[in-house]
Amino acid sequence: MKIRQSLLMKYLLIITAALILWPLVLPIYYIPKEFLDNEVKQKIMYLDTEKLEQMWHREASKLNGGTPEKINKRLQTLKEQYSMATMFWVDADGNTKLMSPNQLKIPNQWTLQDSVEFMKKSVGTGPFTIVAYIGGDSNQGFMVFQVPHTLTEPLSPSFIDDMYLLAFGFLVFALFLFISWLFFSKIRRRLVQLQTAMTEAGETGIPDKVAISKIDEIGQLGQAFNRMIDELTKSRKREQEEEVLRKQLIANISHDLRTPLTTIRGHAYSLQKESLSPKGEESLHLIESKVDMLSQLLDNLLSYTLLSAGKYTIKRKETDMMRLIRASLVSWYPVFEKEGFEVDVRLQEKVLVWNVDPQWLTRIIDNLFQNVVRHAKSGRYVGVRTEEKEGRNVVVIEDRGSGMNNGSHEKGAGIGLSIVSLMLKEMNLDWEIESSSSGTRIYLHEKI
């Protein structure tokens, strides 16, 4: 990033501009007036009284010994220059000469009394007055220059007096505020945009990249964010590829093991049609049941591998439990029937909705029923019901077998239950097992 593109630079520019401009506010206000307004221009001449005095005295000394005509002419010229002033001169005899403009209060013939009165007035309330002896000599008479005090007083810079100046100052201040506001609101808007872009996840679950328009601090932040998104997308892709590969591998292993099992199963079935001794029949039956068990075990083993590696994708949704259990029972009923089980179903008539993955839950119930068929055959009973226990809705699966700890438990049931346990945990469900020699009860419920 070049330093001139940075926000810091921009902000410093604004501040500097304000600092430089502020002292120029008054001149900028007045300068155009000075050029445009003659009156003001005139007024300026009277501001510096000292300069006026010097000028008047200089003129007076220049007129040393001048004829009245000469003095008149000079005063007329000066009058043209200082049009707002009152000028007159008094000759040595006390006669007022060339009064411009005419003033009634000034006597035509000066007495001593008049002089004293005039001086007193000019010091007190009267206009600003300059008196100079012509030629610096009191015998040649004197000349007078009068200006109203309003002209000699400095121009009022007071904001209160000058509404336009007040408005102008306010306008400049507002302009500065507006530019600052514009600057910061632009930064703010971009930051908010960036925040929104970072928060909203795109199709892949990762936020989309942001569009970068300027290469300043915020633009750089956006670039860094985009780089992060790139990395994230890459690693997500890699992860997905690995997942696919792993699933593929496991599916292939499963497939390759099942194919010979199918052949064994087929040949065992063909053998059944041959005439066999009772011992042969028994062996065949054993082969068949072990093939079934092996296939079940394979399934469980592979599921367990995927589950424990967290590679089983879970899709939780609001699921009607009664419907799901009934659907499971439909597929298991013929098995139970064939094995001579009494199937006792008491499901509540109210809807029971759990937030679970229906595929997983079906798998859980399958595993539990599988265990009942395999290990609780002696009880010839399976019960499925809903109960209220400690204010919670509980699904109960009950058998009247010899219990989990009493021998009948063939090896392999363990992994089925481990899968149940893992899946329940993932779905925020909990379970309890009550098992005795007269049967097993399994309670499923939502975690609180």
């Binding site: 699933k247 099942r258 194919t259 052949t263 399934d299 419907r323």
Partner: protein, 224 residues
């Protein structure tokens, strides 16, 4: 008439055994070891049994192609791939999914259900206890007195729905949703009332039904 089954399986041992078993059960089986040329046999096939792991095109691709061209021919996937993902992918186009190793009786039963569901086997007459049903004529006759049993539209729909899924348990919500076409509400007694009226018409003794069996807590079943 013998039904034609098209069977695609690359494993020689399994293929030979399944073909033989199905032939013994009265089907005419055409067994191919890959998907090549399968389309040529589709015209005459009543049902396709398809493996997934095949040399060349896999069963998913073949099945989808066959289903697209012959939507009225049922496809049964028979595979050693057991993962849920595979089943879901398969059932997108296939009509049933059986995993290996399987029991030949189960395969045969599923083949028959599919054939029946797709109308490949039209049962001219179903005899259940004392009543005979002519499904093609929408006619139900009490064979003891030879009088027609008149059912209301809903009763008839429920009964034929059960008949079309012989030996299967159908849950209350399945029946309700198939017949009424709207979602079943838990606790709704409408279906129960209809079944009771239906039984009063077809059963000898409605309190001890012989034809429509109640599977307590689950649903109903008609055994054939």
């Amino acid at each position: 008439m013998r039904k034609n089954l098209l069977y695609i399986e690359d494993n020689k041992e399994i293929g030979a055994w399944v073909s033989e078993d199905l032939t013994e059960r009265g089907y005419h089986v055409i067994w191919l070891t890959s998907g090549e040329g399968a389309i040529g046999h589709m015209e005459s096939a009543d049902l396709v049994i398809l493996d997934i792991m095949l040399p060349g095109l896999d069963g998913f691709s073949i099945g989808q192609r066959l289903k697209k061209e012959f939507p009225k021919t049922p496809i049964l996937l028979l595979s050693a791939r057991t993962s849920i993902d595979d089943k879901l992918q398969g059932l997108h186009f296939a009509d049933d999914y059986v995993t290996k190793p399987f029991h030949p009786d189960e395969l045969a039963a599923r083949v028959e259900v599919l054939l029946r569901r797709f109308g490949k086997i039209s049962p001219p007459l179903i005899q259940l206890a004392h009543i005979s049903i002519h499904l093609d004529q929408n006619l139900i006759v009490d064979s003891r007195l030879n009088v027609e049993i008149i059912l209301t539209a809903k009763q008839f729909q429920i009964f034929t729905y059960l008949l079309r899924h012989p030996n299967q348990i159908l849950t209350k919500e399945q029946i309700y949703e198939a017949v009424w076409g709207s979602p079943y509400m838990e606790g709704d007694k409408t279906l129960m009332v209809h079944i009771r009226h239906l039984r009063e018409k077809i059963e000898k003794n409605p309190s001890q039904p012989q034809i429509i069996e109640t599977i307590r807590g689950i649903g109903y079943r008609v055994k054939q």
